[in-house]
């Protein structure tokens, strides 16, 4: 026997769906105009020729995509892998990965610490971690800049203590970018792990100790596997914006230590090669999407495992 909805039910469902769409339409139009739609134009631009003074010439060309990976010698037209671009991509991935590891190392114990506070003070700690999350990323980067400058607080203190004779050069190095990114993205690691930890039932830990597990075994065999979704979420939340970082490497890398974000910007500024910038942006987008799909897979897998 096949089931047919009564006309009344069908009409109700139709009306509800139409209302849902009508309500969502303004938001969709806004996003289409000023967020999603323009992404398509970026893809189109990556297949156009570069104008002499910025902008594009409306001629189909794969030069931009060619230039993402290869470089043509200006004298003898020999083609070789573009060291500059590749090394910037590679450095971006490395730095983002290290940032994620650093954030995890500090973020996990912090989330654990907050989650194990008594309920009365827990919200205070949580609030303390949330404030930096909502404060200006540029300002927080400035704060790091002022600390690690040659004449910054750290160097001045070390010198006045007589530990060093001349300032340690930290600014405009990969180290500076790494510290800066870990600093600004740390709350993004703590918050999702805390969200998992908050729901964690410590009776599991009691059961673990009851069954002769040591502290480290309880951590490794019980706590970490159960809150894994939070750890994965935190890692992706740090990794993705790190990869697309622009402000932090610009301020702390001083335009010398570029990341992909700065490389893209360069094409629209001094480089005046919009198609190449568009192609680089699309490349970054693809890498991020791959990371996100990887994340969704991981989450689905761990959800399956926990049934």
């Amino acid at each position: 026997m096949s089931r047919t909805l009564s006309a009344l039910e069908q009409e109700q469902i139709r009306r509800k769906t139409r209302a849902n769409w009508l309500l969502s339409t303004p938001a969709l139009l806004l996003l289409l105009f000023a967020a999603s739609g323009p992404l398509i134009i970026v893809v189109i631009y990556s297949f156009l020729s570069s104008g002499n003074y910025g902008g594009v010439v409306w001629e189909f060309s794969t030069d931009a995509w060619f230039n993402v990976l290869y470089t043509k010698d200006i004298f003898d037209d020999t083609v070789s892998l573009s060291d500059a671009h590749l090394s910037i991509f590679w450095r971006s991935v490395q730095l983002s990965f290290l940032t994620t590891v650093l954030c995890l190392f500090f973020g996990f114990p912090t989330a654990y610490f907050i989650a194990t506070r008594p309920p009365s003070t827990r919200n205070v700690w949580l609030f303390l971690i949330t404030i930096p999350f909502w404060t200006n990323l540029l300002i927080r980067t400035f704060a790091i800049l002022e600390l690690i400058r040659n004449q910054g607080v750290i160097n001045n203190s070390l010198m006045s203590l007589g530990l060093i004779q001349e300032p340690i050069r930290m600014l405009y190095t990969d180290f500076a970018i790494l510290v800066g990114m870990a600093y600004v993205y740390l709350p993004l690691m703590v918050l999702p792990i805390y969200a998992s930890m908050e729901r964690f039932d410590f009776r599991f830990v009691e059961a673990g100790y009851d069954l002769y597990a040591s502290r480290i075994k309880v951590l490794r065999r019980i706590i970490i596997p159960i809150i894994k979704p939070g750890i994965i979420a935190g890692s992706i939340l740090v990794f993705v914006p790190s990869l697309g970082a622009y402000v932090t490497p610009r301020v702390l890398g001083g335009g010398k230590r570029l990341m992909v974000g700065n490389l893209i910007e360069l094409q629209f500024g001094q480089g005046k090669n919009w198609p190449l910038g568009a192609a680089l942006a699309v490349t970054m987008l693809v890498i991020v999407m791959v990371a996100l799909i990887f994340y969704v897979r991981l989450v689905q897998k761990s959800e399956r495992n926990h049934g």
Binding site: M1, S2, R3, L5, S6, L8, E9, Q12
Partner: protein, 366 residues
């Protein structure tokens, strides 16, 4: 002719689609009389709440018709039905005070201000909540929230009041108190109450009539006495109170339209005259149901309806339940009232006889 408030005619509600089709309610028909306390009783998922929601208009039936005072209300939205609901979770508006909650329905009906105030005061008095009328609903206890929910639903003076397991969130003592209170309110207001519960005791003590439901069907409608003492089906007998089921042979049958016949227990020569349901007329075997308190234990086995050994005794204060392993291996429970004198007190392992009068034997339809 009986005066019906609500008539449910061949109503069904299906959810989802093949192959995951759920028949929450399947072709149900029932009439609910004016001013009666009518209870829909059944286990969770039997369709009782769905039926209630269809009457309230929160959902529309997949097929069938619902009539209120002979008017078809099947497609009317809830705000055009003179039917109010007391929700299981109470659903009191957290942003309004007790009095504002009670006046909400009257305001929506655009009643004049003085009438609203008057009715709200009446309702507050009816549920003894005058003192707390300016409190927010999260500042009062569960029992008080229950009263406000009742007052709010009664204030517009609906034709029918629907109550969706309203007492389930209360503790035992409070629940008993509210049962009496509800019955009083129903008598005072003269409104038809349709009450949904899975608690058989609650249903038996409060209702004028009960409809026992299972798997989207109404199995039996009747007074509490009829439902308890004369269940037609095994499910009804099993769901309400404790029951013993014993398979018997049908030995004597009257011919024609007469429903009388006789049955015999296994390993017994004695036959008992009983009513045989129409659908069992041509069968050789039938299922007989016996309430534990309708059987009697004795040390002698001669002439007993059934015999077995005592496996366990459970003391319940007023009564003791005796669990007996029958000779054929099945279980039988006898309940005996405890007296101060002590009386007959067998020990575990004793061989006992179970005596049942013929009028305590009911042959079930299935």
């Amino acid at each position: 002719m009986v005066d019906d408030t609500i008539r449910i005619e061949g109503v069904g509600k299906y959810f989802g689609a093949e192959p995951n089709l759920v028949k929450a309610l399947d072709n149900v028909s029932v009439n609910i009389r004016r001013n009666e306390f009518f209870t829909l009783l059944g286990p969770s998922g039997c369709g009782k709440t769905t039926l209630l929601r269809l009457i309230a208009g929160f959902e529309s039936p997949s097929f069938g018709t619902i009539l209120l005072d002979n008017k078809d209300i099947t497609t009317l939205p809830p705000y055009q039905r003179s039917v109010n609901t007391v929700f299981q979770s109470y659903a009191l508006f957290p942003h309004l005070t007790v009095a504002q909650n009670i006046s909400f329905g009257l305001e929506m009906l655009n009643k004049p201000k003085h009438e609203i105030n008057q009715t709200v005061d009446e309702m507050l008095a009816l549920v003894h909540m005058e003192e707390l009328k300016d409190r927010r609903t999260n500042q009062i206890s569960g029992g008080q929230q229950q009263r406000v929910a009742l007052a709010r639903a009664l204030a517009p003076k609906p034709d029918v009041l629907l109550l969706d397991e309203p007492l389930s969130a209360l503790d035992y003592k409070l629940r008993r108190g509210m049962q009496i209170e509800l019955k009083r309110l129903q008598l005072e207001t003269g409104i038809t109450f349709i009450f949904v519960t899975h608690d058989q005791e609650e249903a038996l003590t409060m209702s004028d009539r009960i409809a026992v439901m299972n798997e989207g069907h109404i199995l039996q409608v009747g007074s509490p006495d009829e439902i308890y003492n004369d269940p037609q089906e095994r499910f009804v007998a099993d769901f309400i109170g404790e029951s013993n089921f014993v398979e018997v042979d049908i030995v004597g049958k009257a011919s024609g339209a007469s429903s009388s016949g006789s049955i015999r227990f296994a390993n017994s020569k004695k036959s008992y005259p009983v009513k045989i349901p129409a659908n069992k007329k041509n069968d050789k075997k039938a299922l007989v149901f016996i309430r534990p308190e309708h059987a009697r234990l004795d040390g002698k086995t001669r002439g007993a309806t059934l015999t077995g050994t005592l496996a366990n005794k459970l003391f319940f204060g007023t009564d003791t339940n005796y669990h007996i392993d029958l000779d054929d291996g099945s279980q039988f429970v006898v309940r005996a009232q405890n007296t101060l004198e002590g009386g007959f007190s067998p020990a575990v392992g004793d061989k006992l006889g179970i005596f049942v009068d013929e009028n305590a034997l009911k042959v079930l339809k299935d």
